[in-house]
């Protein structure tokens, strides 16, 4: 961990993300993707973000991943503003892992090499990178596919490689953009099982975008979005119901 990124060594109850009046505009304000979003996510939570296409889910995930900056409002990661990070790549390299809907494996590299990609910024030796990648691929049940190129893998296998890759940097937060969107139900179930196990066994914070209500149902909390706003937050509903 460098001084530019906040520490991830924190108790499970700690707030990981805290968003206040988060807005994001495109095309000089013609498109308002986020119109003032407020929420907080605790360490170890499994949050599903749902909503119709164009509601701002992906924009929100991009902001959480420091891929883009919000137009206004604030987003704190473990108490530090993501917008003020001097080097967002440091945060992406060490704090979070990305899982994409289309897997986004690099076609000219083997599964073992794909998983090593995020490790280049970690300062590890080539053999350390290789050993860790092999270990991660074994943990997702692909120990026998180390030297295969992505084109030779099924959709489910590709997404499992992508999950192994997202864990390569030893992150504590996983950001997943419709990870089962391109999979059949059997593979989708297997991938979700893997993600849920990571959440429960390793206490990873998991933020997942999905259209699938069934998958959203496996999350400990659901944020429903519409027109750039959070329409409902199951955590709040539960709290209100309890009170």
């Amino acid at each position: 961990m460098t001084s530019s990124t906040p520490s991830s060594a924190s108790p499970p109850s700690q707030v990981v993300y805290e968003a206040a009046n988060l807005k994001r505009e495109f095309d000089d304000g013609k498109v308002q993707a986020l119109r003032g979003v407020d929420f907080s996510i605790l360490a170890g939570e499994f949050v599903a973000i749902t909503g119709p296409s164009g509601c701002g889910k992906t924009t929100l995930l991009q902001i959480l991943g420091a891929l883009i900056k919000p137009s206004s409002g604030s987003l704190l990661y473990r108490g530090n503003s993501l917008a003020d990070l001097p080097d967002p790549s440091e945060y992406r390299a060490r704090e979070i892992g990305f899982i994409f809907q289309s897997f986004h494996l690099l076609p000219t590299y083997t599964t073992l090499e794909n998983v090593q990609m995020p490790m280049f910024e970690m300062g590890w030796s080539a053999s350390e990178r290789r050993d860790r990648a092999a270990e991660l691929l074994k943990s997702v049940g692909l120990g026998h596919r180390l030297d295969q190129f992505p084109a030779k893998l099924s959709g489910g296998e590709r997404q499992r490689v992508a999950i192994a890759r997202s864990l390569a940097n030893g992150c504590s937060v996983l950001l997943a953009d419709e990870p089962t969107g391109n999979l059949d139900s059997e593979n989708a179930e297997r991938v979700m099982e893997l993600l849920v196990n990571l959440h429960t066994d390793k206490h990873m914070t998991l933020v997942l975008i999905t259209h699938d209500q069934g998958i959203a149902g496996t999350a400990s909390r659901t944020l429903r979005m519409k027109d750039g706003r959070v329409l409902s937050d199951s955590a709040l509903t539960t709290t209100l119901a309890a009170s």
Binding site: T58, S89, R92, A93, H104, T108, L112, A126
Partner: protein
């Protein structure tokens, strides 16, 4: 997997395009090797020819042509009394079409002069006197003209006979037709004219004294310019022009290579936009992306340089053996030239990658979540 593996894989994934770009830059570098090698070779061939003739100082007027401008042979009388001058030998050199060869050195030497001394006969004999209608051929010239002892040889309107074949000890000598000075003066209508005076200095003369002698000669012989034998050709206007042309043509070829590499690397960046965005999303720093593109273009440049040196070297060797060129030059394919060519190519690769690398560093990582 190391970072270099990632770099190499980036190039290997598009073998045809990488191959064609390599070819483009290789041709540019081959041009550098060939043209600069030939022009340097011409200089060193000339210098070794002087050495083979036993010359220390050359007096000539190499102003604007490949062969020196003629002047009166009486000029020699002003040189012989100068200090450190041991001997002089007047020469008339020309580049002439001889029978099947379109261009060949014809070197006519003062009968009895010292420049005949180092010619080693491999067959036949030397001329019997100054006006005997015979020539001596360098061994390469004999091969190019397919002549043997006793064969007739046509020089301008005169038919002479091949009396001997020599090993001249230098490419210029080996590729020359050698005859006595009065004979060529008569054939070409240049009676009393020469274009070179070879000067041999007394034993023990220092380099500084040779330079002083050159200055002395320059004072008394305004018709020509005296120079230490090794410097002579390098200072001629014609040679300077050839050298400039060689570099100019080479640089143009290299520029084409630069554009080729730049185009390829830009295409690479455009095609790999999503891949680069994914790498950024996975935490790669922009500086690493810049390094990736620069390393790829540098590797392309380096490989192109190595291939170019090989193509250039082979090309020059083939050229040296073509009948039109054979015996006229020996390209200087020194390790220094090869190394310099590869270095140029490497620099070209890096320079060509700068703009694409900058473009790649501007890509928004958020694009990774689209598509």
């Amino acid at each position: 997997m190391t970072f270099l593996t990632v770099v190499a894989r980036g190039l290997i994934r598009r073998p045809v395009r990488t191959g064609l770009t390599l070819l483009g830059i290789s041709i540019g570098i081959a041009a550098v090797v060939a043209l600069v090698g030939i022009s340097r070779g011409f200089e060193s061939s000339w210098a070794s020819g002087m050495k083979a003739r036993g010359t220390d100082v050359v007096v000539s007027n190499l102003s604007s042509a490949l062969t020196p401008k003629p002047f009166e042979d009486k000029v020699r009388e002003r040189i012989t009394p100068l200090p450190h001058v041991a001997a002089t030998c007047t020469i008339l050199v020309d580049l002439m079409g001889i029978e099947s060869s379109s261009m060949m050195f014809v070197s006519a030497r003062e009968w009895g002069g010292f420049s005949w001394e180092n010619l080693k006969l491999t067959a036949g004999r030397m001329p019997k006197d100054a006006m005997e209608p015979v020539v001596i051929l360098g061994r390469t010239a004999a091969e190019v003209l397919s002549k043997k002892i006793g064969d007739p040889i046509q020089i301008e309107t005169r038919e002479l006979t091949v009396a001997g074949i020599i090993d001249g000890g230098a490419i210029v000598e080996d590729g020359s037709v050698i005859l006595s000075l009065p004979l060529l003066q008569e054939i070409t209508g240049n009676q009393g004219k020469i274009n070179i005076i070879d000067v041999r200095v007394t034993p023990g003369t220092t380099e500084a004294e040779v330079k002083t002698l050159c200055q002395e000669i320059n004072k008394v012989v305004p018709e020509g310019k005296a120079m230490p034998a090794g410097d002579n050709i390098g200072n001629s206007q014609a040679y300077k022009f050839i050298r400039a042309m060689s570099w100019g043509t080479s640089l143009l070829a290299v520029l084409v290579g630069v554009l080729g590499v730049m185009n390829t690397m830009l295409m690479t960046v455009f095609e790999r936009t999503q891949e680069i965005c994914i790498l950024l999303a996975l935490g790669w720093k922009r500086s690493r992306i810049v390094r990736l593109i620069l390393w790829e273009s540098a590797l392309l440049g380096f490989s192109g340089g190595v291939v170019g040196v090989i193509i250039g070297g082979i090309g020059v060797k083939l050229l040296e053996h073509t009948p039109a060129i054979r015996g006229l030059l020996e390209a200087d394919l020194s390790p220094q030239l090869m190394l310099m060519s590869v270095l140029i190519s490497l620099v070209v690769g890096v320079i060509s990658g700068l703009y694409p690398a900058w473009r790649s560093s501007r890509l928004p990582p958020g694009q990774a979540l689209h598509g």
